[in-house]
Amino acid sequence: MLVERVTLLNKLGLHARPASRLVKIAAQYKETTVEVGYGAEIINAKSILGVMMLAAGPGTELEIRVDGPEEKECLAELVDLVNKKFFEDE
């Protein structure tokens, strides 16, 4: 299992659109378990309702945990998404 912490840098944090981008990436890795969260709450990153429920605002340090055959690629892609502010300007 790989774990990494990244800070949300985009304007509004994990609201609908960024959350849906994150979920779409996580869902592509079918054999891999992907979880995100902060504080005591960790949820399945393939659930849009779960991810939005985190209500992670800007500045939150998000923990990403991946476990499975493609964990490396998956983690790299998710970290990149967060660091690039969810490509919000596109």
């Binding site: 509004l12 609201h15 849906s20 393939k46 429920m53 919000e88």
Partner: protein, 589 residues
Amino acid sequence: MARQLKYKGQAVSPGIASGPAVLLRRQFRKPECKKIDQAKVANEVERLYNAIDRARTDIEGQRERATKGLGETVARIFDAHLMILEDEPTFEIVIQQINQDLCSAEAALFQVFDGFANRFEAQKEQIFRDRAQDVREVCGRILGHLIGRSTDTLLDIDEPSILIASELGPSDVLQLDPERIIGVAADKGGATSHTAILTRALGVPSVVGLHDITRQAKPGNIVVVNGNSGKVVLRPTQRNLDRYKEKETQYRAFVRSLRDINELPAETKDGRKIHLGANIELPGEARNVARFGGDGIGLYRTEYLFLAQDTVPSEEQQVKEYTEVVKQLDGKPLVIRTFDLGGDKVFPAAGIPPEANPFMGWRAIRVALDRPEIFVTQLRAILRASVHGPIKVMFPMISDMQELKLAKGLFEEAKSQLRDEGIDYDPDMKVGIMIEVPSTAILADQFAKEVDFFSIGTNDLAQFTLAVDRGNEQVAHLHTVYHPSVLFLISWTVEAAHHHNIPVALCGEFAGDPAASLLLLGLGLDEISMSPVRIPEIKKLIRSATQKEAYEITQKVLTSKSSREAHDRLVRRMKQRFAELPIWFGGKQ
């Protein structure tokens, strides 16, 4: 039989209608937990997935209808619903629940989704709280298919009815068939609510802010909705109903008769022409210009584009929307107002915080100048769309010459970027400003030298001149364009514009007030821009009058000492003069 109840709310979409009430059923009650056999679990899971599939078909259909009818921006609201239907982990929890409690799919689904909705509602931030409505709508839709009862109550109504709702969400409004839902009365909402914007777009009379009408009304109760005056009568007495019916019939016949003048100009008997523009908020409304015989779009409010989603719309998306509008106009002019966000229109994606005094706060051009990246993107999109038809650009809330200079600077910047990138645009695009802050009206003579046109925004001009917050119920009755000081500023602005040979328009709902039509003609405005449904009536009045009499009436009104005197003089004259027309001149004082 319960007694008659009279309401006074805020009229947000004009017209009169009466009919039996239908109540919007947004949610289902908690389904009973029917115990099932262990052997039936697989069956329940199958039912669940079938219902999800049908819900998806519904939503995709709605999304498509929305795209056609109201444009891509509104349609995007449904994407959130489709995303929820893809939420496999959540449906796995539902299946676990079925297994564990041996209960029906309905009960398990409700329990899981209700839990999510409640937790969203408890969030601190509005953008997360708003998700609760999405969760409940999706849940209701799947439940509807499980129970075999559609949530689309609005689709199977036999006779023309009045819709009573707490407030309307976008998906509710999209189900509105104006042939069957002929009026709307809602507990909540203001002039910029979804209910207001979308009912106006559809041309359905509507009144909002009625507090408890959903509690008082029962299905089938007769309701009268007057979207001109804001009056709503629930269970009217027979005598009242007859009176309203007669008014309504007369009014409808009159409106039908106005089709004859659809293609004709708004020209007085002695040959003075005035342009009648349409105010729109959604691209889908552009077709109303031709339908109601308008001369173009005098005010395209672009806020909705920014409010309908939680991120700033991209340049491409904006180009698409603006192009869609201008193409529907067949060469008639389009005035695009750059975003007027802030104030009562909060804009999450720009990070506008709630303010104590938002109308005077960080809004409109002030936000634009502090967030040049958003502003320039919009200006680029407007410029790019201008290759498809005549577009003018207009800046809102200018209060100082420095702001205009900066805004024009950014406009030039947008042009030079496009030039460098080799992208086409109209190099001669006209630039105008809204006159809605008294400081700018007073100095109109100086501003007229710097822009190509003016457009007077009466709502804000009155609000700032009279120091009346029109959103504050305690003082809203003091808000009136008929105050002699406001009329003076309008007249003053028109003179300054004409002195420098630039045209001056007036946009704002005052332009669609029949009582004001001759006054606006007499004040010398070159264009008045209003809700498109208003155009035929106003055109009729103008075509029945002369510039000479309009001028005389105007002089009388301008010398009034109070707003009441100005209003009463005008309404009395108009009622006498046009006694044969079933037009409502009550106006808003």
